[in-house]
């Protein structure tokens, strides 16, 4: 009935305010009257998909859980790139937008530190930022489903890597990599998944809850955003062909950067059934960063399962919350309306 009526459950519903905007990039602040944790938490999203996957639906929202745990949550959303973004390089995000977003958060909160959380390719951007800005005000860095060894990234990376296809050959008229190329790459990872998806839907067509979840998920998985052409070219050359994260051949804005320079407390979360960022692609990361306080969390989940669904609710989100709270200052009375120096305590006991 839902499908026939074309009814769609709204996504990204958690109340938020746009507090800063430059180009297509926006800084969102999620409203929370019960902030108990400082420093603020800034989420850096991927460049190729839409950020509402982190706030899919009420009761199934990563953002909602973070807010419920007392975090002051901010998100850098890159928007939908167009021809004006075709020349954007990785340094635009790592050296310009991210520092500007962080400055805004610090300015608006009156804090002098921030926790950074990168999702998927957003984790790569956050890593490059932390490596290139060694005096950055990071209390901690968490990355989820973030690749380090791009040789294991599947057919799309293979086509550009061993296949030798140039990014210039797939650009659209805007100069960006069109979403269909990325989508096709993801679909090739599991060739039968597309058909299985419809078989699952047919079997549970009368289950309104399932259909609503199906619609929300497909709204995300079928609607990626263009990848800025120059940044995509850089990714192919530096991360795919040179495998820069593993071989320590990373360059941002003309400077050599090293993951060994990432010294802040670090958590990497990877999913063992992730077909987009497979385990072998994400696993080397923990050994590459230079932090002493570093942890790896491996979960029996898929790429999306890290932030959506039962595994996320039961394991991923509580573990991330636990990690962040132990590296944050937690106030029982709440921070709203209080100064950054209010009475607070540090928690402890994160395993590992």
């Amino acid at each position: 009935m839902r499908l026939a009526a074309g009814a769609r459950r709204p996504v990204g519903c958690t109340p938020k305010d746009v507090v800063w905007r430059r180009g297509r990039t926006e800084l969102w602040h999620y409203r929370n009257d019960g902030v108990q944790v400082s420093p603020p938490l800034l989420i850096v999203f991927s460049l190729i998909s839409r950020s509402f996957i982190l706030d899919l639906s009420p009761g199934n929202s990563f953002i909602e859980r973070l807010l419920g745990a007392g975090f002051d949550v901010w998100l850098l959303d890159w928007g939908v790139p167009d021809e004006r973004d075709a020349q954007n390089r990785l340094e635009d995000y790592v050296d310009d937008y991210l520092p500007a977003g962080i400055t805004r958060v610090l300015e608006l909160t009156g804090q002098d530190e921030i926790s950074l959380l990168g999702y998927c390719f957003g984790g790569n951007l956050a890593l490059l930022y932390a490596a290139h800005h060694r005096s950055s005000p990071l209390r901690s860095l968490t990355v989820m489903a973030t690749a380090a060894d791009f040789r294991h990234m599947g057919p799309l990376a293979d086509v550009f890597g061993t296949g030798g296809l140039d990014v210039a050959d797939v650009l659209d008229a805007d100069g960006n990599v069109p979403p269909r190329v990325v989508l096709q790459g993801f679909r090739t990872l599991k060739p039968t998944a597309q058909l299985t998806r419809y078989v699952d839907l047919w079997e549970r067509l009368w289950d309104d809850e399932y259909v609503a979840a199906y619609q929300a998920m497909t709204a995300w998985s079928d609607h990626h955003v263009p990848f800025p052409g120059a940044a995509a070219d850089e990714v192919v050359r530096m991360l795919v062909r040179d495998n820069g994260f593993v071989t320590d051949r990373l360059t941002v804005g003309g400077d050599r950067v090293h993951l060994a320079d990432v010294r802040c407390p670090f958590l990497t979360v990877l999913a063992t059934r992730d077909h987009i960022v497979p385990e072998p692609a994400a696993a080397p990361l923990i050994d590459l960063v230079g932090a002493r306080d570093k942890h790896e969390l491996r979960l029996d989940a898929g790429h999306i399962g890290l932030v959506v669904g039962k595994t996320a609710a039961r394991t991923t989100i509580p573990t991330i919350i636990d990690f962040l709270r132990q590296r944050s200052t937690v106030s029982r009375s709440g921070l709203s309306g209080t100064s950054p120096g209010s009475p607070a305590r540090r928690t402890s006991g994160f395993p590992g």
Partner: protein, 112 residues
């Protein structure tokens, strides 16, 4: 827990047999090279057609889609330079202790 219907069990059996084989095929070097070749051939064909039609339109002194794309690229590059410059100025202003409220919707901010 109820058993899935027969048609579903048949599908699952077939899928479990086929999926791993297909997945291993798409991870081969041949597949990567074949896909790259197909992508390159498609791009070359599109470029040839664009070049031919451009020649025709230029004969009658009219701009082509390629000309427009080139202009859009140049405007995009200019837009990027302006954006980066604005961000740098903003950062510089922050470093100097000044505030730049033009791009900030202060009313929307709810600092803790």
């Amino acid at each position: 827990m109820a058993q899935p219907p027969l048609w579903r069990r048949l599908y699952d059996t077939a899928e479990h047999a086929i999926a791993p084989r297909l997945e291993s095929v798409v991870r081969t070097e041949h597949f990567a090279r074949g896909s790259a070749l197909a992508g390159w051939a498609q791009a070359t064909a599109k470029a040839r057609v664009a070049a031919l039609s451009a020649r025709a339109w230029h004969l009658v002194n009219l701009p082509t889609g390629t000309d427009v794309a080139r202009l859009r690229t140049q405007i995009g590059a200019l837009d990027r330079e302006v954006r980066r410059l604005a961000l740098r100025l903003e950062q510089q202003a922050d470093n100097d202790g000044r505030t730049d409220g033009e791009e900030t919707d202060g009313a929307g901010a709810r600092p803790p």
